[in-house]
Amino acid sequence: MNQEVTILTLTSSTQLSLVVLFLPLLSFVIMNLWSKNRKLGSYVSSGLFFVNFIIAVFLFITIWNGEPEHSRWLWFEIGSGIQFTSGVWLNNLTVLLLVLVTLVSFMVHLFSLEYMKDDKAYNRYFSFLGLFTFSMLGIVLSDNLLLMFVFWELVGFSSYLLIGFWFHKETAAKASKKAFIVNRIGDLGFLVGLMILWSNYNTLDLTTLISSAEITDPSLTLATLCLFGGVIGKSAQFPLQVWLPDAMEGPTPVSALIHAATMVAAGVFLLARITPFIPIDALHVIALIGAITAFMGGVAALRQFDIKKILAFSTISQLGYMVMGVGASAYDAAIFHLITHAFFKACLFLSAGAIIHSLHKFSHDNDANFDAQDIRLMGGLRRSMPFTFWVFIVSSMALVGVPLFSGFLSKEAILIASLSMTKGWQVIVPILGFGSVLITAFYVMRMLLIIFFGENRLSNIINTSYPSFSKVSLLMKIPLTLLAFSSLFILFSPNPFDGSHSWIINGLSNQLPIEHHSVVPAISVMLVLLGMGLAYAKFKPSSKYIQQIHSEPDYKNLWQSLSFNNWHLDAIYDAVIIRQAIRIADGIKMIEEKLINRFINYFAIFNVILAKILGLFDRYIVDGLVHFSAFASNTIGWLSKNIQSGKAQTHIAWAGLGILMIIIWLIL
């Protein structure tokens, strides 16, 4: 039953990949030890990440389209012969993600140097970033599911630390707990999936599973769906997407790194890793969940007023696209979208961070107290922050999927793949996919119009002259420029209208390239134009909506209420799960107090009584015996001592008595 574990020795590339893995951990350690000199420590850590990025690029050049390299060694052994291995598996997918994670991580470090400059816990921030990147790279490099699960949990934990970074804010503390617990629900699925796989195949090694798993095995459907449960948690899919909007309580660069580019992508990455052995039934479920998530996320983004919440819901929506892509058997397209999305969404978050930073500074300098993330207070930023405006425009166009931008290429690839699902109920998947394109265009246009166009509305709220915002510093400009550039088509495909021949898709898929459709791009471009047009009609600077934007929004309309409250998911979970859980907990508490505590109390009292009885027994019986024997020997001693009084007459008397007794004895 137990198959022999083959040990694969380290090669130079896998050794190098281990260096990439442990450099962020080194940064974590350094930042924790180096608490004296803030400036130097953070620059050293950013330098480490730059080195890391360079090594990752080198690895990418070595491995991409070459032989995959795999190193494996014995991890631990349970009982006799049940061996677990750990290892590093470098193939095209790994090195692609390696470059992505290290690059975005480095960009976020650069940005944070400026963004977090005035924060008290500056060192803690950078050390957590290092820990997070370490865990994420661990997921990417792991060659088996168990090791991946370990890093998966570490990612969840470091995400918890970073969301709750400003833990003195109650909302942030709550959000971090929520993210952690919701993720835990998904991770339970992951764990169960691991158990099923182990009991069926006796291995969790990915390469072995891929080669030995029988795709028709019904338990495999169950196992992969359980693993997908982990993905639902980590990648914020329906029905566990509720944690992601709340996670926006963390610092904005963290949102860019974790909740847009890397951590939430871990789920999609896991799906891509296991996709060779996901049965077709499971794939259909995955595609459906993805499509529903894409649609729900898009709808929820329509009515938000918090700039980071809009971006968070759009992230959910885009993650839905990726999962849908995997479900439509096009994991290459999904990973392509993951890459492009990571760049443009990181760029969007960082530029939103730049805006928030400026507004926050403004409110600080002018002693004005307002929410720096509320888009109702922005408007007209096109003139005061031109650089941010252009960067934001470029990345949002990529998000919408306008031709010439990267998002267009990857989104078209997924949509084309989704067209393969047309049988029966499956047709809902492409319909939701295309519907989300329209919605995405609408809410992005709304966000752009409200933030950057029209007049600045801040002066309506506080009595100042026209606000002038601080310039974006160079340290912030470098990552923004690089990421915005990465949102253009040119990095990914020579043909701006055809993503199916992109080098990423060619490198990832071993099947024939997806057939190029010209209908799909045409439809989606029309949908994009329609959505943007509708949004412009409603939100143009002279419109009634913008004029009345400060008045309390009216959400009597069912649709608007659904959107604003994220489909009331929080309220539903609160009523269905949380309150029931609290009720059960209360019941258990009552049982504990009334029954168990009472029993324990009585038991304790009984014990005390028993102890008293034992004490009495000890004192009077045991001690009494000892005392009695002492008393007896004392008395005997006293008696026999008195015989020898030293008086001659007594001696004589005793001698006479003795003789008398001898005589009596002789006579008798």
Partner: protein
Amino acid sequence: MITLQHFLIIGISLFSIGLTTVIIKKNAILVLLGIELMLNGANVNLIGFSTNDPQIQGQIFSLFVIVVAAAEAVVALAIVVRVYQYFNTSNVDEPKELKG
């Protein structure tokens, strides 16, 4: 007619009175007196039993006893004098050198 019983009763009485005197009396002289009584009690016994003996060995032996008793009385009185000189008392309770 004086029978053996009369001799024995007188003898045991003398011996017992002598022993009681030895044990009870505090004065050393009286203790010596008691010893004499005990010796004479024994003598009465010897004489009593020798009435049935034609060779009268008992009566001869009692003469020896009287002689030895006289010698013993001399020695004992000398000891009493020495004790009196040493302890400044003739009370037999006072010297407790033998006490364990």
